[in-house]
């Protein structure tokens, strides 16, 4: 068993499989993981804030930026993690497989780290394709696994800290490689073919032996070209997946968007849609002649028709609609400032709102808007989009648009606003 493991380790050894490469890729991967974790937590708390939480409303495109980074960094993790796992693959066959309890914990933490990371980025990617081939809840598991991934990353860094430190800079890595080579040569000279090494040197028999001899017969890779080429191809692949997908979130990459699950400029009024009026079951109620927006503050209540809303002072804003799935697009909105409506029912500016949609069901039918958004000049009950009457799929007769909030909280097909 031991022999087989060490033979396997020898077979899969390659010039690019070395600690320096693992450190270089590990750093990039750690940055990508931390970006995903930070932006993911931000998105989570925007949707499920703790009672004391307040969020910045400027810059208006903040959530567009953070969630665009979340999804793009997540996609960039694919080439990076595959490259990283490639560099450390021989570790899988380390001998002896287990050296004791601490070593068992170390290897178990690696297994959790690898398993959780692969599942995390895979379900994240498939979620943006709106394909859910798994038997668990996406949001809950993606949230839970983020702590597992970051936790096992911390443990992994703790375990590998001496190696990371030894190979952190190019200079240090060169010294470390020189030391290791000298050590290996000294060891070879120290024990010239005693009993043990002689046994180890005897060729393995049977099918395994034949396979190994066939592999040994293969020309060896050329180390320098191999190392540079490896890092080059991983770097280039990462760049490629970013450039070919990030156009769904960032307008300047729109021309190179070949593979993102969303594209800017597509859809009714040139804006993509997540939930249609049909899916929300509002095709009748949204166009009903008796539609009214009700605004209530305790006993005070007003109801407004769409024409009455249009007769109020109108404000035009340029704000992005930014989805949790990563796509976003800036559009022109026109409508009534929500703080004017709150003032109309006698509410002061530091009050939160409960917003209810006409939709029949769904997790975001009733949501709460914090006072930082209610008091903001750019937060509107929007009636027009890109110079036209709001399309029914974009929330006709009236919808919310606020700066820096995820799309699921930009409530469409408004029914009522209630001051809390």
């Amino acid at each position: 068993m031991r022999r087989l493991l060490s033979e396997l380790q020898r077979v899969v050894a390659a010039p690019s499989r070395n600690p320096r490469m693992a450190v270089v890729l590990g750093r990039l991967l750690a940055i990508a993981f931390l970006l995903c974790f930070g932006t993911g937590l931000y998105s989570h708390f925007l949707q499920e804030p703790l009672p004391w939480m307040r969020f910045p409303t400027r810059p208006e495109g903040l959530y567009q930026l953070t969630q665009g980074i979340h999804i793009t960094a997540g996609i960039a993790c694919f080439p990076l993690i595959l490259g990283k796992l490639y560099t450390v693959f021989p570790e899988l066959f380390q001998t002896p497989p287990l050296k004791g309890f601490v070593h068992l914990l170390e290897r178990a933490s690696i297994a959790i780290f690898v398993g959780a990371s692969l599942v995390q980025i895979t379900i994240g990617l498939l979620n943006t394709y709106q394909w859910y081939p798994w038997p668990f809840g996406f949001r809950e598991v993606h949230f839970a696994l983020s702590f597992v991934v970051i936790g096992s990353l911390a443990i992994h860094i703790a375990v590998k800290l001496p190696v990371i430190s030894r190979f952190w800079t190019k200079r240090r890595a060169e010294l470390a490689f020189a030391e290791d080579t000298a050590e290996a040569e000294a060891e070879l000279e120290a024990e010239p073919l005693d009993g043990k090494t002689a046994t180890d040197a005897r060729p393995v028999g049977g099918v395994t032996g034949r396979v190994l001899r066939w592999i040994d017969d293969t020309p060896a890779p050329e180390p320098v070209a191999s190392r540079r080429g490896f890092l080059g191809v991983i770097g280039f692949s990462t760049l490629a997946v970013v450039v070919l997908t990030a156009g769904q979130s960032f307008a300047f990459l729109r021309p190179s968007n070949l593979f993102a699950p969303r594209a800017q400029g597509i859809g009714p009024q040139n804006l993509p849609v997540n939930r249609t009026a049909e899916a929300a079951q509002v095709t009748v109620s949204a166009v009903a002649p008796n539609w009214r927006l009700s605004v209530r503050n305790g006993e005070t209540q007003i109801t407004l028709t769409r024409d009455e809303l249009l007769a109020l002072p109108q404000t035009a804003v340029e704000l992005p609609i930014a989805c949790v799935e990563g796509w976003s697009q800036t559009a022109s909105w026109r409508g009534v400032r929500i703080k004017d409506l709150a003032a109309a029912v006698g509410a002061s500016q530091d009050r939160a709102l409960r917003i209810t949609s006409l939709e029949k069901e769904g997790g975001y039918r009733v949501t709460t808007m914090g006072p930082e958004y209610v008091g903001d000049d750019s937060t509107l009950v929007a009636l027009e989009l890109n110079g036209e009457t709001l399309d029914i799929d974009h929330g006709y007769p009236a919808r919310i648009i606020a700066p820096g909030r995820p799309g699921v909280l930009q409530t469409k097909w408004l029914s009522s606003l209630e001051v809390l």
Binding site: F78, P79, L85, F89, I112, V114, A116, L118, V119, T122, L125, Y129, Q130, W131, W134, P135, F136, G137, E140, V141, F143, A144, S146, F147, V148, I150, G151, S152, L153, A154, I155, H156, A158, V159, L161, P162, P219, P221, E222, A225, S226, G229, F236, S237, A240, V241, L244, N257, L258, F259, P261, R262, A263, G267, P272, V273, N274, T276, A279, D393
Partner: protein, 154 residues
């Protein structure tokens, strides 16, 4: 370093416990088993299928390409890796689109066509790199003025 390592392990264990707690609070046992199965499946898929395939392909390429300069093999391998990574990310997207989409703005592009075109571009790029490499190698071998060769090395 000792203190750093201890702090990192404490953070790590807390993270794992928090993750487990969230999982237990928000998912029923069958769903948690599902998560475990997916994690084990991911490890097996990578370690037992994908990695041996990559190792095997590397050996095969070097074997069949004995007569070719190593640089050419490396360039071809790089092209194949790039194409494979793109395929890995786009293939599920192509499949997801065949399952039907919620509305026409979800998965709106022709991903199959885009993937084929991108693969073709990668092939052209790979061929161009090979040609460049061979031209440089030939120029070096044919003994151009040493000074020129040195500047090119830089």
């Amino acid at each position: 370093m000792r203190i750093t390592r201890i702090v990192l392990v404490v953070i790590g264990v807390l993270g794992l416990l928090l993750g487990a707690l969230v999982l237990v609070m928000k998912q029923d046992p069958a769903q948690i088993v599902g998560v475990g199965v997916w994690m084990i499946g991911a490890i097996l898929l990578h370690d037992a299928i994908l990695s041996p395939l990559v190792v095997g392909a590397g050996i095969l390429v070097r074997k069949t390409g004995r007569r070719l300069p190593y640089g050419i093999l490396a360039i071809v391998q790089a092209g194949v890796v790039l194409a494979a990574i793109l395929g890995l990310i786009v293939a599920p997207e192509i499949y997801a689109k065949t399952l039907g989409v919620a509305n026409p703005t979800v998965l709106p592009l022709d991903y199959t066509l885009n993937l084929v075109l991108t693969w073709a571009a990668v092939a052209v790029l790979t061929a161009a790199c090979c040609a460049l490499y061979l031209a440089r190698a030939r120029r070096r071998a044919s003994g151009t003025a040493p000074a020129q060769a040195v500047t090119r090395e830089d």
